[in-house]
């Protein structure tokens, strides 16, 4: 049993890392603009399909798709911003519907280009077992868990140390006050969308390297990201990591100790429990003060 639980914790930790990478983009845009970008999952998927094309079309390792994914996904993310920013002063529900619509367009676009077949990497190197004592995983999972931690550290540094990062936080805290300080909110919001695109690019390539993708999968990713963002508390980077790992571990433990049929229920249960006890999420208050 100990062996089972240890493996579940390890699997949950790695799974949480990938969830975090997906959720960070959503959290960042929500923090900066109060827009829940329901197309974030599709942006992740777009990067995953670029990785697939690089592997199947050029015969290269899908990890090498990252630079192309960065250009295409960031550009798409900027276009999403350009559309959303035109109506964001209206009711929040409008931006929600709009991003959902953009997600549907992206899904259908991917369906047209890559068809409905499920795709997954055929790279032996990425799928190779990585064994660390009693822990088993794929090499790609460990690789992208590391990438995930690096991305979070970079994001934290960017938000707390760089001028643009501070500007994003200022706009997130008080848009009008930030304006008075000479910060252009529109520009910082665009930067947030582009950074969210960068995160989605890495998340997508990671997803393709150890998971299965299909055009309809974007919605599932967005829901996971949304749960983690709310669980973490708006605007908290460490909160996203902890929330994502908690979700991953809760799911893996549920599979191991109860039934895998209850995995999604466990995630939702954790989400409701945290919201019931801490309505602002795990790190909501701290984030607002920070």
């Amino acid at each position: 049993m100990t062996e089972l639980i240890l493996q579940a914790l390890y699997s949950g930790l790695l799974q949480g890392g990938s969830y975090a990478l997906i959720a960070l983009g959503l959290a960042l845009v929500f923090g900066a603009m109060r827009v829940i970008n329901l197309a974030q999952g599709e942006l992740v998927l777009l990067a995953a399909y670029i990785a697939y094309s690089v592997e199947s079309g050029l015969g290269l390792n899908p990890v090498l798709a990252i630079p192309i994914a960065l250009v295409v996904v960031c550009l798409t993310s900027a276009i999403v911003y350009a559309v959303v920013s035109r109506i964001k002063k209206d009711r929040e529900i409008n931006s929600l519907i709009l991003t959902y619509g953009i997600g549907v367009i992206l899904t259908n676009g991917m369906l047209l280009i890559w068809k409905a077949d499920i795709r997954s990497t055929s790279s032996e190197w990425l799928q190779e077992a990585f064994v660390l004592g009693p822990f088993y995983s794929m090499r790609s999972e460990v690789l992208f868990f590391g990438v995930s931690l690096l991305m979070m550290a970079a994001l934290w540094w960017w938000l707390s140390r760089s001028w643009y990062g501070r500007a994003v936080r200022a706009v997130s805290s008080n848009r009008d006050a930030a304006k008075l300080m000479g910060i252009n909110p529109g520009y910082t919001e665009l930067v947030s969308f582009i950074v969210a695109g960068i995160l989605a690019s890495f998340a997508g390539v990671a997803l393709f390297s150890y998971g299965v993708i299909s055009p309809a999968y974007g919605g599932v990713l967005t829901v996971k990201a949304f749960i983690i963002t709310v669980l973490a508390g708006v605007g908290s980077i460490p909160g996203v990591l902890i929330g994502a790992v908690l979700l991953g571990v809760a799911e893996a433990l549920t599979v191991t100790l109860a039934s895998s049929a209850l995995q999604e229920l466990a995630g939702m249960g954790l989400f409701l429990l945290v919201l019931f006890i801490m309505p602002n999420g795990l790190f909501g208050l701290r984030a607002r003060r920070g």
């Binding site: 062996e3 089972l4 493996q7 579940a8 699997s11 799974q15 259908n108 369906l111 068809k115 409905a116 077949d117 499920i118 795709r119 997954s120 055929s122 032996e124 799928q127 077992a129 088993y136 995983s137 794929m138 150890y210 998971g211 299965v212 299909s214 055009p215 309809a216 599932v220 799911e251 893996a252 599979v255 191991t256 039934s259 895998s260 049929a261 209850l262 995995q263 999604e264 229920l265």
Partner: protein
Amino acid sequence: MTNKYQGLRRLALLATMTTALAAGMSSAAADELKVGVEIPLTGSLARVGSGMQEGINVAADVFNKTNGKHKIKLVTIDDESAPAKAIAAVEKLAGEGVLAITGGYGSNNIAPAADAAGKAGLVYVTSGGVDDNLVGSGRKNFFRINNVAGYQKAMVGLLEDMNARSVAIVYSTKEATAALAKDLEKAWGAKGLKVSSHAFDPAISDFKPIINKIKLQDKPEVIAMIGYENDYVGILRAARVLKPAVKAMVGVWSLATPKMAQDFPDLVPNVYGTALLPFPAQFTTADGKLFEETYRRLYKKDPDYLGQFGYVQSMLLFEAIARAADKGTLKKDGVAEEMRKTDRDTLIGRVQFGANGDNLNFTHHMGQHQGDKVAIVWPKAAATNKMNYPAVPW
């Protein structure tokens, strides 16, 4: 009346007569029988839906070339893999005056769609849903050419031939997969096998915790996977990492296919799945050769089992419609009546429909990925090669 006006009247009369004649001719030539196709071409079932649609199109092409008197015209609507859309599609097709519906994939979508077809008085024929409730709920004009019993016979028969003593079932909680898993659990249990079962949510992406449980706790000889393509990829990948000491990996539909061999060559070697056709396909009957030839002409590839199912269900329907048209009973429940009278050898074996619309004779075959081919390994009578056993992909 001046000559000028008389000329105009004659011209108008001639134009009217010509139009009427043309209309009459077109209605005489167009003994066109409109058939609705409600099928998932987008969404989670798009892959399998597209495969079935290819077979349906092949059936229409073959029928139209071999039955001079009647022509089938297909009207296709994508149900987007969603029950509500499936109902809307059937209602729209009924509104467009189709004589019957073929298609459908996923028991969850087929049930409401078949109900909508029933309300419109239309026959609904499918091979895309194996849930027994589809035929057990009193649907009057519902017909199905495959069923869970046929899959069960094949899975049970294969493990019997393997002399397996224990099996761990990993199954999706979707209706059809859960129903098959429960039936197999009973059937294998009754045959004295040690059975353990693990249900999984269809949204799950990491199967390592389940496979680890199987590896450390169950220690079975065989892992049986009851799911869909994305599930198989996840399970096989997790098994490749954890390497449980099993002798065989066995799955059901959408697994022993050329598509899986082509897309996941590293994951599927030695894996078993239900398959009516070996790959490369081999057809010996005239009907089979015609199907294969037309399929290759239309799609420039080898036919697979999805196309084969789509072809058989649709050809039986087209033939029933043609018979009803000949008897003048199209508007009097004639299509359903002719479907009930069906007794025909087809590419999937003899088809006869019971009172509930289910095919009485359906038995599936089991295939195994061997190299870049899929060999039929069960039943022995239909086998194209011996099974590799014990053998796993890693």
